[in-house]
Point group: C2
Chain length 114, copies 2
């Protein structure tokens, strides 16, 4: 019996993951894991997700080199969300930005931000 | 035309929201908004979600008093996730904890943490 059995995966077998930079706590990205990706993340110590668009395991940084060394894995009260604290190599976002959250709403419009 | 038209809502009309404490950046909770909740959050300046379990608008803190004054609303690269920076009154979690992420995985087991 593992805590993995207690998690609330959605209808597609996925759980939401929020990944933050362990150095400063900033939110880098939100992605998804299935049980296999979660197991691999725990066993390898590197952020591994499930890509909903490509429908396959997504070893973050495998091609870009922007890997995530996992320092801590938390779960929320409902056991349906993971919080990963990572040491991020390079930018976390596929656009090249440090974080995926590089736009904010200002006066009802989306603007770029630091 | 509003940026709300560009967001990628899921099949249920929802978008994932990560809410962080503006004071220290810590992740407080993950919840969902539909377009109505997002509109209300922007117009009132207080965190308003859509409760998937109760299937209704969820004005965070309406009964508990643990409201969230929104200081910033960001969007991710894919436009399918919101990041809210809030001033959190009281605990964010319905269990009474400051954050919903009060458990971490240690040696393959879930343990309580600060």
């Amino acid at each position: 019996m593992s805590f993995l059995d207690d998690l609330k995966y959605d209808a597609n077998g996925l759980i939401t993951v929020v990944t933050v930079d362990a150095e400063n706590g900033q939110v880098l990205m939100v992605a998804y894991m299935n049980r296999e990706a979660l197991t691999e993340t725990l066993s390898t110590g590197f952020g591994t997700y499930y890509s909903r668009s490509r429908r396959e395991m997504w070893r973050k940084g495998e091609t870009s080199g922007h890997r995530q060394k996992v320092l801590e894995l938390r779960l929320d009260c409902d056991l349906d969300c993971v919080l990963l604290r990572v040491e991020q190599l390079g930018g976390a976002c596929h656009t090249g930005h440090y974080s995926c959250f590089y736009r904010k709403v200002e006066d009802g419009k989306l603007v770029f931000t630091a």
